[in-house]
Amino acid sequence: MRPGDCSRMREVAIIGASMTQFGQRDAWIRELLAEAGDACLDDAGVESGDVDHLYVSNMASGEFEGMTGVPNALAHDLGCLGAYTQRVDQTSSSGGAGLYAAWQSVASGASDATMLVGGEKMTHRTTAEATDVIASLTHPAEYKHGVTLPSFAGLTARHYLERFDAPRESLAKVAVKNHENGTRNPHAQFQKEVDLETVMNSPIVADPLRLYDFCPITDGSAALMLVPVEDAREYVGDDAYAVVSGVAGATDTHVVHEREDPTVMAGVVESGKRAFDMAELDPGDVDVAELHDMFTILEFLQMEGLGFAEHGMAWERVEAGETKMDGALPINTSGGLKSKGHPLGASGVAQAVEIYEQVVGEAGSRQVDADVALACNVGGFGNCVITTILEAGQ
């Protein structure tokens, strides 16, 4: 068997999903996780005691809240005692990594029902403190210069705009689009439109990027239930379910300046290639995508890394409106991290919740015509990446 050959694994279905209200919440990490997990059990029609594996995607509950060991706490709070639990931390891509782990557990036969719950509690910290918790993923040689993830975005955005002669407004249009989509998502942190002028005149955070080029700091949680495809009908009856047809991860350099080309995220390219190979699909087959728009520039880099646009050309597709809700490839119908919010460990799970709802036809006023959907979850500044492809179950 070659690596990545999943032909001898079980096919895996997603049969239920949930997410809490994202935003500034009074709840702490245990309560956020319990809220999403409880709703997911109901949505999937799975009894607490039937969960074999319970995974928690979370980056930094210890650093943010002084609370560790949350998977065990969640198992107890949800009545899943006896289940195998583990925490999955891959910084901002913890959610995608949790989905990969949950998929492995069911595909391998180790579990017949795995629930994945991602969550983060952040807003009780100041912006400076939260930024520092996230920046603690950087190398000492970077950290001592006071670099933040937003600074990496500023450095990369300037290089991209200068090298490809792209207009600054093209980045702002990503923010405008994702805010517009967010108005249709009742769980989003921001449910208000912003216009181009507001984005372009907002305060500079990391030159040339401004406040509206960045996602907010967010509390929230999201969950998914995974079972073997052969068992899916037992749970969903005649309702729809989704099949995980491709899922793969890859890493890039830890030290960002060591990358050969600052505008290429090798982890995006490699994880995307692997996920498409596994699904036996091409970028052209994707109907809708959730990309990790922690910063507007990341939407360009992922569109290009995943093959939705040529290198240096994503801005033209955005300018042409092709990634809007009614475009050829709608991107971030959920509102993206930009408008929905970015509770670190929850984000990758919430991306998968959105594409699950799109392929099973439960996306409400955000619904687009979609049989194949992709999510790309990025940790660090492209340091580790998970790409997931879901298809409508037959």
Binding site: E129, A135, P140, Y143, G146, V147, A206
Partner: protein
Amino acid sequence: MTEESLRADGGRSHDDRRVREGHLSGDDLTAYVCPNGHATFPGHQRCPECGEHQMESLDLSETEATVVTWTTSTATPPGVREPNHLAIVEFDLEAALEGSDTFTPGTVDGPIRTLAQLTTGDVESGDRVEPTYVDELREPGAGIREPDSQSWDGYRFQPVED
């Protein structure tokens, strides 16, 4: 370590494997080079390109560089100056090799870059800059990182006067 395990391990002992001070932490502006001529700053336990150990070092603290891209951060974490001017700069590798006793020009693969603070926000991509030593780039202990786990001094880059 037994003789047998030494052989199975490519003849390396624990002492060889112990990380040299500063190698992984990027304390000094020093690049590390493997036997195949791949160079990185900071160093790594094994070369990211070929997996060999990086046995040689190349001082870059007096080497000029070119600004690849830059930003000014106005939302900085605890203990960091505000605004914080930052750049990714690329070293003039051939100049560094010419000044080296260990290497001859053309024997080390670049590019070698670093992220660093700038002394000024008045720069453009493509500008020539040079390192200048600062004894505290960021206040130790103000942020989340354990103060003793890394160094806090280092080099900012300033424009080269024509």
